[in-house]
């Protein structure tokens, strides 16, 4: 296969995937120390999806995320330090500390918010796409969701609405096998999720969510269709999460060796590294250098976040309304 992306693009994808991985692994180690407030859902293991999808997008395109949103943020270009501060509930956070892990957003990057409501996002993605259609630009929107979100009425409605209005949106389902501790195979009555999506009247396919290239190529085709006015698509990407549903989840519902096995067999980072070095597209040293840079950045980000000022108490009552 010929090199699908330039070396620069590949290295960028690697940087984003490694950033997500190390960001989350670090949070996993920091959480028990008790300085990170609230509920946190880590994205480790699913990096190829966020990055594979977002790398097909332009800055002006938008994404709508989920409770497990750190990966989507980083993939869409949110900066590590203000993200970290948001997660620590500090004034310098992307949302001034008012949002937290489940509500990080950066509108300047087209990241329209993590969302604590399962199924809350996809209708918004349909709406963003309606705006793009009406404004006559070629932008697209992506609504991310998990396998569990696929059973929410709002998501079904959003899919049908997008088909009816023929708007440029993608519904990306990250099937990591579980919603909390219920298996996807149990909660989705359908034989196949992509088949159910297709029955709504749009192209839908299943891809390998641990393979950056597979994600990228499938998404690129769907984005192209959307930009050309051919309407929405659904993409289901199979993957696994390396941690519990939320930090603190003892994961008893997973077989004892499940995570270890998946870390061996379903690690999108190793797969990417093997591929790009194996094909000779990138040097091991370049990858390592990026990795080192990322680790240093995250160290700094955590340190700064812990030292950062808390939100001013006056902000408690600001930004409820634009006027009044």
């Amino acid at each position: 296969m010929s090199q699908p992306l330039s070396a620069e693009q590949l290295l960028g994808a690697w940087r984003r995937m490694v950033t997500i991985r190390e960001f989350e692994e670090r949070l996993h180690r920091e959480m028990p120390k008790g300085m990170i407030p609230g509920f946190t859902h880590l994205y480790s293991g699913q990096e190829a999806i966020a990055v594979g999808v977002c790398d097909t997008l332009d800055r002006e395109d938008v994404i709508v995320s989920t409770h497990r949103g750190h990966g989507h943020c980083l993939a869409k270009g949110c900066e590590v330090k203000p993200m970290m501060q948001e997660i620590y509930g500090r004034a310098g956070g992307l949302c001034g500390g008012k949002g937290g892990s489940m509500h990080i957003a950066d509108f300047s990057k087209g990241m329209l918010g993590a969302n604590g409501i399962v199924g809350g996002g996809p209708p918004l993605a349909t709406g963003a796409a309606l705006a793009f259609r009406n404004l006559g630009n070629r932008r697209v929107s992506v609504g991310f969701g998990g396998d569990g979100s696929a059973n929410q009425g709002t998501v079904f409605e959003a899919m049908n609405m997008a088909v009816v209005l023929k708007v440029p949106t993608l519904f990306v389902f990250e099937n990591n096998g579980y919603s909390e501790n219920t298996a996807a195979d149990y909660a989705i009555g359908a034989r196949d999720l992509a088949e159910r999506c297709a029955a709504f009247g749009m192209p839908a396919e299943t891809g390998d969510g641990t393979d950056f290239f597979d994600v990228y190529e499938r998404t690129q085709r769907a984005v192209e269709r959307a930009r050309n006015g051919e309407g929405p698509s659904s993409l289901v990407f199979t993957c696994t999460r390396f941690f519990g549903h939320f930090e603190g989840d003892p994961q008893k519902y997973r077989a004892a060796d499940e995570v270890d096995t998946f870390r061996q067999t379903m690690d999108c980072l190793s797969k990417f590294r093997d591929r790009v070095t194996g094909e000779g597209w990138l040097e091991e040293a370049a990858l390592q250098q990026v990795h080192d840079e990322v680790l240093a950045l995250i160290d700094e980000a955590v340190e700064e976040a812990m030292a950062a000022p808390l939100p001013d108490l006056a902000t408690l009552t600001t930004d409820v309304y634009t006027t009044y």
Binding site: G96, P123, L130, A131, T154, N160, M161, V320, Y324
Partner: protein, 334 residues
Amino acid sequence: MPVMSYREALTDAYRLSMRKDPRVCILGEDVAGGAGASGQRNIGGIFGPWPDFLPEFGEQRMIDTPISESAIVGTAVGAALCGLRPVAEIMFSDFLGLCLDQIWNQAAKFRYMFGGQTSCPVVIRVNTGAGMSAGSQHSQTGYGMMTNIPGLKVVVPASPADVKGLVMTAIEDPDPVIIFDHKSLFTDKGEVPEGEFYLPFGEAELVREGDDCTIVAISRMVKFSQKAADALAKDGISVDIVNPRTLSPLDEETILESVEHTGRLVVVDESNPRCSAATDIAALVASKGFSSLKAPIEMVTAPHTPPPFAPNLERAYLPGPKDIEAAVRRTLKG
């Protein structure tokens, strides 16, 4: 000033707003009408508020949708985040139960929980209220629940002029707004300013001035309160009638000033009584206007029951001029 019906004023407001700003669009079930059907395409909406909007504004701006209330609101909200000024129509306010999340946890919260990064200029238009024997699931209000939601503005136009001025303001407002237009006011007529006309949010209308009691009345109840006031006038009793126009923001000042003047308060709302707009306004006065009060606050509301179907029951369910009159008289004894 031209006289028009509440429905005509509503049509006028949306039409002018759409002419003024190409980003405004309306989406909902049958708002254009006839999509995909074998006959005429331009129906003008259920109850006819959008006559000839389709030919004038086109399919991109008059958007017929499936019956999917969550997606109707969610689509409008998402579009509002990305540059449109959408109006989502939910046919009856009773159906808010199907799309509350998109209002409560999405539209109304974005600005706050994203730290002021965005505004969400979406308008949700709902038709509301009892009076047509439409039964338990098509006759409720719901603005009490909506007023509980921070980040949302809540509009309750009581007259043709109100509906025009408040709708035009709502559409230009940067925040999410829900407008309850009242089904039983649709044929009521009144003077309405021509052309662009804006009524500010958070400024109540002092519909009538008097000395003996303050009536704060919501939506259709303003009209009933006027009837009560006419009857009371015959006995030399004069009342202030305050029409809040918006419940959120609420013009606390006008209400408190009026009660300061009259010393007595009757709140009239056709909604169910518990945790309602009536209790909200009563509580406001009991906390911030207590020293003015000379008598117990009276609340005239529907009973704590669903709206019944049979017309005689529905009449008994709704507060009427007589109930308001009696409440005022009670405060004068108190």
